[in-house]
Symmetry: C2
Subunit: 113 residues, 2 copies
Amino acid sequence: MSRGSAGAAGLARAGPVFAALGEKTRLALVARLCARGPQSIARLTTGSDVTRQAITKHLHVLAGAGLVHDVRHGRERIWELDAEGLDHARRWLDQISKRWDEALDRLKKFVEE
Amino acid sequence: MSRGSAGAAGLARAGPVFAALGEKTRLALVARLCARGPQSIARLTTGSDVTRQAITKHLHVLAGAGLVHDVRHGRERIWELDAEGLDHARRWLDQISKRWDEALDRLKKFVEE
DNA sequence: GGGGCATGCAACTTCAGGGTTGCTTTTTGA
DNA sequence: TCAAAAAGCAACCCTGAAGTTGCATGCCCC
């Protein structure tokens, strides 16, 4: 497994990303940051059905997965999306589905012989 | 948000997929099914550090997310990948990262004016 | 300087999910 | 026919994550 993000190393990095996205509040946060741009914690909390502290925790989980990052701005903390983390997860899915398609092709050809 | 898989509906469908992939045992199962092809439960269990029942539960979670499906074959139950579920998650990530890139471009042009 | 807004920190509660054990059912093949 | 393999079912434990409450801190602006 010398290269490619579908190997053991890529798997270890992809895990936290999927885990971060696999929670409805966090997924909604990502979608919201994408749709409405960078926002403060207080603004991200309005309209949500959980507490500001809950939002804060979720943002840190997303940051740990490399999906968002924050910038201090006066007394506010502005959070915005981080495209790199998203790309990594996408590449992992690309690898898997591509390899699976190839495997299906091989099987099909084998059956047809 | 009238179309596209990044809207509320796409978000609702993408959630379970990411949640399913966001667990190391399940992610390893997907990688294994991709690398070694369809396998029975017993075979998927060998080499794993958890019980057969745990593997069974995980397979059902993956099936619920549309990532795998099973075929009865005698006294065995063969599980294999389901490319459609993978593609759905990938398209969701595509939408998000594409829209984010566009937003960054708009911001860049705005700043340069 | 000080009131008020935005956020940070820490302790606590709750519960879903990951895992196990023990037993039963189905199916194979000799 | 029957023993063993493969899987299903159900009850149970237990950790961690999601969420809350209460209070402390930092920063802007009048």
